[in-house]
């Protein structure tokens, strides 16, 4: 099998990289692809918690790189989907424990077994970031509709291009339709105009994300009409399927109702 590897990155912290990896990975697995998630945030691992797999970790990515175990031994099978795996980060080490060339060969090995390898990048532009992008075939950048997050996304796009990862695409996370319509939030057009890259998805702000992260159950598992559907759509687009963007206004049943009434 010759799979594809993608890195989810952002520059700024707290914009939703890990949540995006967990949900896109799970959504791809739900579409019957064989998927491996890699947590490249060594020392600050989170992906295992968001996936609800924390208590199954025996070996981690540093053990693999240092030959303390075989790659297969470190892979944790997801408790819900047998074709979804997690390669966790080490918590007691730091970013220098892995080198970009080691990461590259690790991802190459995984691509032989998997359809998709999804790499969760740490925040920042230092070694952790360089490790995370080393093995990636393409990159998705997560940003929120904030000036600072967009600024960092722009920086990251520049760095990715310098590293030869051409044409990264962007996911705009946590957009609040109401605030956008009031003009209190950057709108999608503004963001795309600055970044000048393809839009891969729009994820509406949804409180259920916090609940699902805390429970270790990615939101795509539930029949969630907002964020869940948005992540499923992104996963479909990754596989090459064409999916229309959810219109922000259509998201809420009530806005629809309001619209109908406003005509009468």
């Amino acid at each position: 099998m010759a799979g594809k590897s993608l890195v989810i990155t952002s520059g700024k912290g707290g914009v939703g990289k890990t949540t995006t990896v967990a949900n896109i990975g799970t959504a791809l697995a739900m579409m019957d692809y064989k998927v491996c998630l890699i947590d490249a945030d060594i020392g600050l691992r989170n992906l295992d918690v968001v996936m609800g797999l924390e208590n199954r970790i025996v070996y981690d990515i540093v053990d693999v790189v240092e030959d303390n175990c075989r790659l297969e031994q470190a892979l944790i099978r997801d408790k819900r989907h047998k074709n979804l795996f997690l390669l966790p980060a080490a918590q007691t080490r730091d970013k220098t424990a892995v080198q970009p060339n080691q990461m590259k060969s690790l991802v190459e090995d995984l691509k032989k077994e998997m359809d998709y390898v999804v790499i969760d990048s740490p925040a920042g532009i230092e070694q952790g970031f360089k490790n995370a992008i080393a093995g990636a075939d393409f990159a998705l950048i997560v940003t929120t509709p904030e000036v600072s997050a967009v600024r960092d996304a722009d920086r990251i796009i520049g760095l990715l291009e310098a590293e030869g990862l051409k044409d990264p695409e962007v996911i705009i996370n946590r957009i609040n339709a109401e605030m956008v319509s009031r003009g209190d939030m950057m709108n999608i057009e503004d963001i795309i105009e600055i970044l000048a890259v393809q839009l891969k998805g729009i994820v509406p702000e949804d409180n259920i994300i916090i609940v699902s992260s805390n429970r270790g159950e990615p939101v795509v598992l539930k029949d969630n009409p907002k964020a869940g559907q948005a992540f499923k759509n992104i996963a479909k687009r990754i596989t090459g399927e064409e999916v229309n963007f959810i219109s922000l206004e259509d998201n809420s049943f009530f806005t629809k109702l309001k619209k109908i009434f406003s005509f009468s």
């Binding site: 600024r151 960092d152 722009d154 920086r155 796009i157 520049g158 760095l159 291009e161 600055i194 000048a196």
Partner: protein
């Protein structure tokens, strides 16, 4: 003697203007010199040759095109005969001019002793420092510094001038706090007059 070739900023890009009063051989040699000394000048960009006031024989045009092909990675060579307006900015032929054919993103920095021409935007967080002029076929939203060596003659021109900070020579200016109309392009040029940075609308 004044060089028989010059470069001007026009609507579509950088236009090569040939002096109608110069003999063909001088034009040819000047162009050949520029091709050798500034090979990357048109890399990835279109080269417009303005022949409005000239009369050339077909094989002379051929010769010009053949020399111009020597610019590394030049995209298309296009002849135009649009009359170039008098007040069009002339790219100072003296210092070297660097052409950058992409958008500068946050964290990227360009520092050149000559003029800098950018086909693309300068995003917030990006920085351009030039000894001479800065001309941007796009939006300036980052920090620009023209005449960084102290030249008060330097200017900054862009299709949209919305810099975080604009410096010319030793003067520093910030844009007004209220945001401008974000959508429309409004070519503007900043320069020093009476010891102050002035901005004027600019038609190209």
């Amino acid at each position: 003697m004044k060089s028989p070739i010059s470069f001007k900023v026009a609507k579509n890009g950088i236009v090569l203007k040939l002096d109608p009063n110069a003999e063909f051989n001088r034009i040819k040699n000047a162009l050949r010199d520029h091709v050798t000394s500034a090979t990357n000048f048109y890399a990835g960009a279109d080269l417009y040759i303005n022949i409005a006031d000239n009369s050339f024989k077909i094989d002379q045009l051929n010769e010009i095109v053949n020399i111009a092909r020597g610019y590394k990675d030049v995209k298309n060579i296009i002849f135009t005969s649009d009359v170039i307006k008098k007040d069009t900015i002339e790219i100072n032929n003296e210092g070297e001019t660097y052409l950058i054919n992409r958008t500068l993103r946050s964290g990227q920095k360009v520092k050149k002793s000559g003029n800098v021409v950018i086909i693309g935007d300068i995003n917030p967080g990006a920085e351009v420092i030039a000894g001479g002029d800065i001309i941007v076929f796009g939006k300036i939203r980052g920090v620009v510094h023209a005449g960084a060596g102290g030249s008060t003659e330097a200017s900054v021109t862009a299709l949209k001038l919305e810099p975080t900070q604009l410096r010319i020579s030793k003067k520093i200016a910030r844009p007004p706090e209220e945001s401008k109309n974000r959508k429309s392009l409004n070519p503007e040029r900043a320069f020093i007059q009476d010891g102050q940075i002035m901005v004027e609308n600019f038609e190209i």
